[in-house]
């Protein structure tokens, strides 16, 4: 039932976790923010976003809470759990190591 964690998927998880690390954000907001921060480079596939959120919630990394959005409408906000915060740190470190390594390889060739 779990999707294979290929690079894209793993990346999406990391992006989501990082995006909500500062404050609770709803699904729409997460997509928007990733797009803005990456300067329109990363377009989150919206069909993949929600399953990813639900999976992260089931895994206990993030938790959901209903709240008021800026336009005064009810929206589901996601925030990191303490376990999720640790997990993010780990994954961030992994990612940096990995991208640095890839960078090294690319420079050499």
């Amino acid at each position: 039932m779990s999707k294979p964690t290929d690079l894209v998927q793993g990346t999406l998880d990391l992006l989501i976790l990082k995006t909500i690390a500062l404050e609770p954000v709803h699904g729409w907001g997460i997509a928007q923010r990733i797009r803005q921060v990456s300067k329109e480079v990363l377009q989150v596939n919206q069909g993949a976003l929600y399953p990813a959120l639900h999976r992260l919630e089931q895994s206990g990394w993030i938790r959901a809470k209903w709240g008021e959005s800026d336009s005064n409408r009810r929206a589901k906000f996601y925030a990191l759990t303490p376990a999720g915060r640790k997990y993010l740190e780990q994954e961030e470190a992994n990612w940096l190591r990995l991208s640095a390594a890839i960078g090294l390889v690319l420079e050499i060739s």
Binding site: G27, Q46, Y50, H54, R55, G60, W66, R73, R74, T81
Partner: protein, 891 residues
């Protein structure tokens, strides 16, 4: 802590499903609205914007399903779905469901009922403290009988004193008391017990106290009541302690009441039925000085911790050797006395273990057949559902998921069957308990309790797997392409599928043949038993048992005149043709005594001269209809003072005086040295079955009451009636109470009833095994019918073509029946082999029939063959009715 959080989420997803769903919808709608807002902001019309947004988002439903997947509770929901779907499928095929559930219910119900008996009787430990360390000490006189026998009173005391292996030892001896006072006098089972018995068993009275060691001496009239008697006769009043009850006209002070759960003795302890009253055994001086006589006390002992049975056996055997040295020389030189310690549980359940395990095996067979039948039904249905399964596979259902769903259906069937089976078992058990023969111990403990329920549940799961796995695997192998391509054609299964069904039927036939042979052998045994001549004419004979209490009838003269007067009065009754009395009734005696024929030289290696013996009064032999072969019956001339007369049985006369006239020959009781008077034979009568009908006939002697006097104070009255003997019963009671209003008239039965009671254990075995065999055959017949009619239905097309090409109806009939018959023959062949291998376990239950009795084998094979033919004939006839035109168009 993360897992708690996760667990809560799962629970929420599972049980607050609608809420979670609503939230999911709302979340996605929010996203969509935002998306639309954005598009409108970019200048699209609201309508275009919403279309664009939906396109961008992708299918909302797909996203939802993916989210649901992510919530990881699908497998539980799937399970619920499987169960729901299974129930719906079962409900849609009520015929199939009913047959399958009923078949399983019969199998599981019968198994549960028999298991509940096995559990209560065999498996559960005896209801005493640490029963594994309890043993019965028995003696053995190999020359008289190879079986261990109870212990004589002085020896019981020696075992108590001399042993080094037992924590405690207690003797007990069964008997009966006339309980009189309030209400009708009643004969109740009683037990004389050593004071230490209750603590040995780890049981104490619920009310009052147990006996003390001091009270275990003659001269204490104390009684402890059973719970049941306390409830029944004394209204469960706690002030019963200290009150006086009248037992055999003697006052006894009640000192206690045993707990409800206390049942003692159990059958197999050789001291009768569960006692209603306990008194101290308090061996009298006379009893203790009767060395080497009256081997009729049971001795119970508790092994010291760490002492093995072998060690105990050595110890008691050594004691027996020392005891023998104290016996009179005429015994000491001639016999060997041994002793043995036997585990109590083996003694109690040993005799019925074989029978019960056999019955369990038999119902097990029935269940296997039931499983095979249901598997066959499922296979048939799987064939019909092949297209459904193929379509589901084509639409993307996982094979595993399909397997799970089919397995759920099988389990549902099994559980439904088990549920109905439990109800059935409850009914069967009610019937069984009332019917149970007297030799099965602990019947009172039988019930539907936890172990039995656990057994049923296990059985349900196992059967579900057993009959479910085959069709499920078959279905999962469905070849998608060919099935779908077959289109509208009725699915024709591959040959391996058909052979699977055939194999199941062959197995069913084989199993039911084994059961039939077993049942057949028991039927033949019973037939033989009923054909066994008891040696007397039981019709028109009424019997009753009387026991005059010693307290009131102190003098032998009083007892004599009571019985004489009673017989005289009964003789006057209209409708009485002959009347007499005896110490033992036929079929229920069994004690053998040593005797010495005058001038008889035993051939080398001959055993002891033993015969059973009764003392008779009045026209007892005439009343029973025992034929006189030579000489005469007892008459007036056989009175005290005249030559002591004896009547012997034919087999005794023939053994000791072959080819001679036994009249006038003499014998005496006891060994050659005995001082007993010589008895002169005045008559020879036919052999009577003194013991059970199926036991070898014993040699027997009759002495006259007038000359010998009465050993003890009990007599059994036997009256031959002109008409229905039962109608004499009230006149008999009235005559007894006319002489003594306080005397209990016990066991008023016709001789027919006595015979019935002696054959009850066999009737019970017979009934059960025949019922199981009949059930098995019926199920097997249904199995054959199912397979043949299915194959006919499948081959309608082929049969139609054959008939269109000119095949005759009789050929078609032959062809179809032949097909079924081939299966039957294979099953019968296997079954005969199985029966030959298994029936030897039956041999202890057979009488006059060998376990390989050819007649039985042939008969039951024929019965099975006829049933199988019938089962094939119905579908075969249907095949001949096939209209070629219809059959051809049908496709």
């Amino acid at each position: 802590m993360r897992w708690i959080y996760k667990f809560r989420l799962r629970l929420r997803s599972l049980f607050r499903k609608s809420r979670v769903e609503k939230e999911l919808t709302e979340e996605l709608r929010f996203h969509l609205e935002k998306l639309i807002e954005e598009k409108v902001g970019k200048g699209l019309t609201p309508e275009d914007a919403s279309y664009a947004a939906l396109r961008e988002l992708g299918g909302v439903e797909q996203i939802k399903e993916e989210c649901r997947d992510m919530r990881r509770v699908n497998y539980i929901e799937n399970f619920a779905q499987d169960v729901r779907y299974g129930l719906r499928m079962l409900a849609k095929n009520p015929g199939f469901t009913a047959v399958a559930v009923l078949t399983l219910a019969l199998g599981i119900g019968a198994n549960t009922a028999i298991f509940s008996v096995v559990d209560a009787v065999i498996l559960r430990p005896l209801p005493y403290k640490d029963p594994a360390r309890l043993v019965l000490v028995k003696e053995r006189i190999p020359m008289a009988t190879p079986e261990p026998i109870p212990v004589c009173a002085p020896d019981a005391v020696q075992f108590q004193r001399q042993n080094q292996v037992f924590e405690s030892v207690a003797a007990f001896r069964g008997g009966q008391f006339d309980l009189s006072g309030e209400g009708e006098p009643e004969r109740i089972p009683a037990e004389r017990v050593n004071a230490g018995l209750f603590s040995l068993l780890g049981v104490q009275p619920v009310v009052g106290r147990a006996f003390t060691a001091d009270e275990d001496q003659p001269g204490h009239s104390l009684a402890i009541l059973s719970y049941a008697l306390w409830q029944r006769r004394f209204g469960a009043r706690p002030d019963v302690v200290g009150r006086t009850v009248t037992l055999d006209r003697q006052p006894y002070t009640v000192i206690g009441v045993m707990p409800r759960s206390f049942v003692f003795p159990l059958r197999g302890m050789e001291q009768g039925d569960a006692a209603d009253v306990f008194v101290p055994i308090a061996f009298t001086h006379d009893e203790l000085s009767a060395v080497g006589d009256n081997f009729n006390n049971s001795v119970l002992a508790r092994l010291k911790p760490g002492i093995t049975l072998a060690r105990a056996n050595t110890d008691v055997d050594a004691i027996a050797y020392r005891i023998l040295q104290t016996y009179p020389p005429e015994f000491r030189d001639r016999i060997k006395l041994e002793a043995i310690a036997l585990p109590l549980s083996g003694q109690v359940v040993g005799r019925v273990r074989t029978l019960l395990l056999l019955l369990l095996g038999a119902v097990g067979f029935v269940l296997l057949i039931a499983c095979a039948n249901v598997a066959n039904l499922l296979l048939t249905r799987a064939a019909h559902r092949q297209r459904e399964i193929a379509v589901r596979l084509a639409l993307g259902a996982g094979r595993l998921r399909l397997l799970r769903q089919l397995a759920a259906e099988s389990m549902l069937l099994a559980l439904l069957g088990a549920g109905l089976g439990l109800l059935l078992a409850f009914g069967i058990m009610q019937g069984l308990v009332g019917w149970m023969p007297a030799n099965i111990p602990r019947v009172h403990a039988i019930g539907l309790d936890l172990p039995v329920l656990a057994f049923t549940l296990t059985l349900a799961v196992l059967t579900g797997l057993a009959f479910g796995v085959v069709p499920t695997l078959a279905a999962s192998r469905t070849d998608l392409n060919s099935t779908l391509k077959e289109g509208g054609r009725s699915a024709q299964r591959g040959p391996q599928h058909r052979s699977l069904r055939s194999a199941l039927v062959v197995a069913e036939v084989a199993l039911s043949l084994v059961l039939l042979v077993g049942a057949g052998l028991l039927v033949r045994s019973f037939e033989r038993l009923l054909a066994t001549q008891p040696g007397f004419r039981p019709e028109h004979v009424l019997t009753a048992s009387l026991s005059v209490p010693q307290v009131q009838y102190k003098q032998d003269q009083q007892i004599r005149s009571f019985y004489r007067e009673l017989i005289a009065r009964l003789q006057q009754l209209p409708g009485v043709k002959a009347i007499g009395a005896s110490t033992d009734l036929p079929l229920e005696a069994g004690w053998e005594e040593l005797f010495t024929p005058e001038g008889y030289q035993p051939p080398p290696g001959a055993g002891l001269n033993l015969c059973s013996h009764s003392v008779i009064l009045g026209d007892y032999l005439q009343a029973l209809g025992v034929p006189l072969l030579r000489g005469r019956y007892f008459t007036e001339q056989d009175k005290p003072g005249s030559t002591p007369a004896l009547i012997v049985s034919e087999s005794l006369a023939k053994r000791y005086w072959p080819n001679q006239d036994p009249i006038g020959k003499r014998l005496k009781t006891g060994p050659p040295e005995s001082k007993d008077p010589w008895l002169t034979i005045v008559g020879v009568v036919g052999d009577v079955k003194q013991g059970p009908l199926d036991a070898p006939t014993m040699q027997h002697t009759y002495e006259s009451y007038e000359q010998r006097g009465l050993p003890g104070n009990s007599l059994n009255v036997a009256a031959r009636a002109a008409g229905n003997p039962a109608s004499l019963a009230s006149a008999l009671r009235a005559a007894v109470w006319g002489l003594d209003g306080q005397l209990a008239v016990a066991q008023v039965r016709t001789m027919g009833q006595v015979i019935d009671e002696s054959t009850t254990p066999r009737r019970f075995n017979l009934f059960l095994l025949v019922a199981f065999a009949a059930l098995a055959v019926a199920l097997a017949a249904i199995g054959i019918y199912g397979v043949i009619s299915y194959s006919v239905a499948q081959r309608t097309h082929e049969i139609g073509i054959r008939m269109a090409l000119g095949a005759e109806r009789s050929r078609v009939l032959q062809f179809v029946i032949g097909q079924g018959f081939k299966l039957t023959l294979m099953g019968v062949g296997l079954g005969i082999l199985g029966a030959l291998a298994l029936t030897r376990f039956l041999s202890s239950l057979l009488y006059g029939v060998k376990p390989t009795d050819p007649l039985t084998f042939v008969t039951v094979t024929l019965i099975l063959a006829v049933v199988a033919l019938l089962a094939c004939y119905i579908p075969a006839r249907r095949a001949t009715k096939v209209d070629p035109m219809v059959a051809l168009r049908y496709e």
